[in-house]
């Protein structure tokens, strides 16, 4: 079957309109999870079907697309999704976070600060931040409607009383525009501060759970914490072994079975640019 049998960016225009309406509503009510008629996509649920649908709905022929997974452009799923849009939309793709107009991501926010006009599309497995405290959707929707978030604070408090600190390291809940509590998707809490007052539009798509939510540009996104136990960003003891970055999120790479470890930037674009700059400095 040729790609010609499908519309630009795979989805038909009716579906795109439906998704765009959901996105507009999500932008109008920051952090609120908008139900949408999520479609079957040609990749499995859990692989980013929500993000792919959002990207397909907003993508235009002039867009430049970047796709990352775990911060990297070369991870298998990022490669696969990028290839999907090359095949179905024929858009230009890039690994350069500055050049991209749309960045679809799984589990990371790029280290390079985003700018106005860019859109960051998150792939979301479980959009409901209260899900692990209350499994029933009927209950959690009522809790959001009433802004009844005490149970979340109790959970965080229990963490502190048991472990001395909050034991959530990724998918760290945050309050958006002083109203809704949202799940930022399983990004490390290291990335949470990047969501706040971000000049780019941030869209979140959950395909299996059929929800879209958004953070419009320059919206306040505050991680939940307590005055005496303020939110803390994850810190690393080492610098990136390739580019020397000390301000980036690092992956641990196992070198051998004798306990050898190496830490490298999870954001491959950021790391590569820093390495190039270092080489240039050294050459000059």
């Amino acid at each position: 079957m040729t790609a010609r049998a499908y519309n630009f960016a795979y989805l038909d225009e009716q579906t795109k309109r439906m998704i765009r309406r959901a996105i507009l509503k999500a932008v109008a009510i920051p952090g609120y999870q908008v139900p949408f008629a999520s479609r079957e996509m040609p990749m499995p649920y859990g692989w980013g079907t929500g993000g792919v649908q959002v990207t397909a709905a907003i993508l235009g022929p002039d867009d430049v697309l970047k796709v990352i997974d775990q911060g990297a452009d070369d991870t298998t799923n990022a490669v696969s999704i990028r290839a999907f849009f090359v095949r179905t939309a024929g858009v230009r793709v890039t690994t350069d976070a500055e050049e991209a107009t749309i960045i679809q991501t799984r589990h990371r926010v790029p280290e390079t600060p985003l700018r106005q006009g860019q859109i960051l599309v998150y792939q979301v497995p479980i959009p409901e931040p209260l899900r692990y405290l209350e499994p029933r959707e009927t209950e959690t929707r009522a809790m959001h409607a009433l802004a009844e978030y005490g149970v979340m604070h109790v959970k965080l408090y229990e963490d502190i009383s048991r472990h001395g600190h909050i034991a959530t390291t990724y998918a760290y809940p945050a309050r958006v525009a002083d109203r809704y509590i949202m799940d930022p998707s399983p990004i490390p809490k290291f990335d949470n501060p990047k969501l706040d007052d971000c000049p780019a539009l941030q869209l979140f798509g959950a395909g299996r759970e059929k929800r879209i939510y958004a953070i419009p540009p320059h919206t306040s996104v505050v991680p939940l914490d307590f005055e005496d136990h303020p939110f803390e960003r994850t810190k690393f003891d080492s610098a990136c072994a390739l580019c020397g970055a000390t301000d980036a999120y690092l992956d641990e790479v196992v070198m051998d079975d004798a306990g050898g470890r190496m830490f490298v930037c999870s954001d491959t674009d950021y790391c590569a640019k820093r390495q190039t700059a270092k080489r240039k400095d050294a050459a000059e």
């Binding site: 040609p42 696969s80 899900r131 405290l133 051998d256 490298v264």
Partner: protein, 366 residues
């Protein structure tokens, strides 16, 4: 007609003849060979071997053919065959670390000794119907040579990820096997509760893929969360050894294809244990990743008591899970409702009528 109260014998014979004819399908298409099923429907064969608890590709392929592609029926056929086989010994524990790897992926480390080996997987294929397959065998897309540091080299050691994590003491230790200690056998002893972990894993290993999948999924959606990471999935061939009394040592009796899944689960301490990663384990014959992963998630969910976790969801309820996981048992009992129940139904009818009569009499008396 089915209705005949007596003389159902001829009806049954005719039904069987019709079934055989339907199984064969249109005579103008060639008959399926078991070699075709084994080779081209290999994953169905894998599933039937796993849940049939018998490693025999030929028998499993034949069962699939006989069952017209109904995999639970095929599993049933294999189980009924297996149970007649004599048991001449127990194999030595299989060493999955020494597997010849066809596929090995870790979701916890970007790179690691032995590398990430994708192998044959649907994971990154776009699910677009390939109408080209319809017109016959097209030559497969050419495989590109692996990168220089490619992990395809089967000779390199591929240590288990959980062993790597264990070096740092960040994951619970696997209980050391006691040599010579008896191992549960759920095909020889009735399951008792609480079940030991060996019995539980046996039960899950032959449990229905769909049932385990849905239960595992429920833990991911809040009904008994276990914070899982796929430490590793590996698929390959492992050697089976048998200790031969007369020889006084173990000899290799062949290889089995296995999928092993080690889930690494976050655990922040409790039940008198320190904070560390905990394990969920899954193992299945052939390439059965969905099954092995589901099994590993449920294994961990069922260990709730060990870690002082409150048991309040279906996947954490050992008796619920283990009593309902077997699809041969389940399909038998659900489908038995098709059998005649005239006698019981008649008794119910009589009761209903009596109750109605009493009710009407009481109303009339008011």
């Amino acid at each position: 007609m089915y209705v005949a109260v007596k003389g159902g014998e001829r009806a049954i014979r005719n039904a069987h003849a019709l079934l055989a004819e339907k199984r064969r399908g249109a005579r103008d298409t060639p008959e399926l060979s078991t070699a075709q099923i084994d080779g081209q429907l290999a994953l169905a064969v894998d599933r039937v071997m796993s849940e049939g608890s018998l490693y025999d590709r030929g028998v499993a392929a034949l069962a699939i053919k006989q069952a017209r592609g109904d995999l639970i029926e095929a599993i049933f056929l294999v189980r009924a065959f297996r149970t007649t086989l004599p048991r001449f010994g127990f194999a030595e524990p299989i060493d999955t670390a020494a597997m010849r790897i066809s596929r090995r992926v870790s979701a916890t480390y970007k790179d690691l000794p032995g590398g990430q080996v994708l192998g044959p997987t649907f994971d990154y294929s776009h699910r677009l119907i390939d109408f080209g397959l319809e017109s016959g065998d097209l030559s497969a897309p050419a495989r590109e040579p692996a990168a220089p540091a490619g992990p395809a080299d089967a000779q390199r050691p591929v240590p288990r990820v959980t062993d790597l994590i264990a070096r740092d003491g960040l994951i619970e230790r696997e209980a050391e096997p006691e040599p010579g200690a008896p191992v549960s056998d759920i095909t020889r002893d009735a399951l008792a509760f609480p079940a030991a972990r060996d019995a539980r894993l046996q039960n899950l290993a032959r449990g229905d893929e769909g049932f385990l999948l849905s239960l595992a999924y429920s833990t991911q959606r809040g009904y008994g969360r276990t914070h899982p990471f796929v430490g590793e999935i590996r698929f390959g061939e492992a050697e089976v050894e048998l200790f031969v009394e007369d020889l006084g040592f173990a000899v290799s009796i062949g290889d089995v294809a296995l999928t092993e899944c080690q889930m690494v689960n976050q655990f922040t301490g409790g039940g008198g244990r320190p904070a560390r990663f905990t394990r969920g384990y899954g193992l299945a014959f052939g390439q059965s990743e969905r099954k092995a992963m589901s099994m590993a998630l449920i294994d961990r969910a069922l260990r709730a008591d060990e870690f002082g976790e409150e048991r309040k969801h279906p996947a954490q309820d050992e008796e619920f899970v283990l009593s309902h996981s077997d699809n041969v048992q389940a399909t038998g009992f659900v489908e038995h409702l098709k059998l005649p129940h005239y006698v019981d139904f008649q008794a119910e009818l009589a009761l209903l009528r009596a109750l109605r009569r009493e009710g009407e009499a009481a109303e009339a008396a008011e």
